[in-house]
Amino acid sequence: MSFDVVAQQPKLLYLLQGIAAFTAVVGLILVALHRGPIRRRGAAALLLAPALLLLAVGLLRPGLRTLMLSFTDGEGDSWVGLDNYVWILTDPQALTALRNTLTWVVLVPVLTTVVGLLYAAAVVRSRFRALALSLLLLPMVISFVGAGLVWKFVYAYRPAGADQIGLLNQLVVALGGQPQQWLVDSPWNVLFLIVTMVWTQAGFAAVLLAGAIAGVPREMTEAARLDGASPRQIFWRITLPSIRPTLLVVVLAELIATFKAFDVVKTMTGGQFDTGVLAYEMYDQAFRYGQTGRGAALAVLLFVLVTPVVVYQVRAQRGAR
């Protein structure tokens, strides 16, 4: 392996410069915070300014541009009114994506939370808690692309009679069944993609919920036990209500993640076999098909669908305080 040290030095130098420049900016902000009679509003402005500036340039502006583009045609240069939205509501392909997305947002958060909760409840008092939680988190670390690869391999299909290379078909065959094309046969293939998504997300839910369960005061469960409550009753009547805020956080975070899910579909089916979801269809339309307007309209629709979730989340937090 030829490795050129000299070629690396400008990179590392630039890295140092970058960090130094950033440190200088941060330093200035802190100095300004310390010195001078800064009023509340001034302090807030100073602290928020860098983040808000970046957000305005990097996300808000693109967001508004997308909104505008959603009323234009393929090249994004002539107005077409609501045509793109009409297209979403009439095109079979877009409707399939919409239907699949709704299936995803119902199933993924629910399954993820249930698996995470069961697992968290089971391992939370265990000596191997940290290790056990890490096992579930591993899929997240190897990335969506890696996860897609892992599951494509599980679902791999070989015709009946041949050696199966996919675990799932091997099991089916071992039980006397016929090998199935899991990722091909609609509509069930959507569920198999959802399994992959749940697989990547459950660890996150389990970690959060394990923490919440561990935080339930022992006196409460002890008291209930002395009163003769069964473990199941304790779980339902005491643990669950105590961790409600965390449950909410988990479900909502999963909802947002699910709406944005794109990589799993991309690596596993490429949106074929009626498995497309809105986030993926948007990418196809805007970039692969050059239909910028339709892509933008799909993005806006996604935004509209997620907004209630975000608003609800903020409200819930306000209420908890």
Binding site: L47, V57, L138, S143, L149, L167, K260
Partner: protein, 295 residues
Amino acid sequence: MNGVRERLASRTFSVIAVVIAVLWTTPTFGLLLSSFRPEGEIKTTGWWTTFGSPHLTLDNYGEVLFGTGNASGRLADHLVNSVVITLPSVLFPLVLAFFAAYALAWIDFKGRDALVVGIFALQIVPLQMALVPLLKLFSQGWLFLPAWDPTGPARFGHVWFAHTVFALPFAVFLLHNFLAALPRELIEAARVDGASHGTLLLRIVLPLARPALVSFAILQFIWVWNDLLVALTLSGGTADTAPMTVKLAALAGTRGNEWQRLTAGAFVSALVPVLVFFALQRHFARGLLAGSVKG
């Protein structure tokens, strides 16, 4: 009676845990094992047959690491690029989001709630739609911002910028959740003592917020390290600036037929985040937990 039921319940729970753990690790294990099998065998027999006749090889890894692919043998270059990209992309949003979260949680000002909702909502702007405007910004400038179109290592700046921007909404969201849940009395007490916001921020809130900061840093590290979309669009694809993910994606072969390399590549690329994760996982859980328990 109670004791028996309890033991039964706890046994049920243990069984559930074991089943889930097995379900969650077996697929990865299968792929890991496959990555050590010869190409021909991966494509014709199941990985479980390896237990009958172990026939393992490092060929796939050899090909990925030292293969004669495009810009061959320069994986080390790409590794350095990944490090150079990841460090600032974790540090910058961490600090900026901490500042913003502090202001949103502990300074009262008009329009604060709307701002919180607004920043949260930005989480949903799809990255894909933000890339074109961002590229335009770099190549043409915007309002008072001049064009910024460097060559060579300075292109890392683009990638840092993009990752920082894209990370901010979630970072602010996470840290704000955490900071807003800190005990009010602590901060009020310090305020009464006449501490400035600077002092509060550094002396009181920062140490308390450490678990949340560490959690975010780990999440962001994993995200940036595994990112392909931003890297491919902004880093320019050559050994000068492209991270490992770009290089590994190229290894799949033009017609996607070399996926035994992808198997090995996925694990090579995941090695660093897995190590970081296992080194820090204790802190990771703690940070996420502390935030939500009181949330």
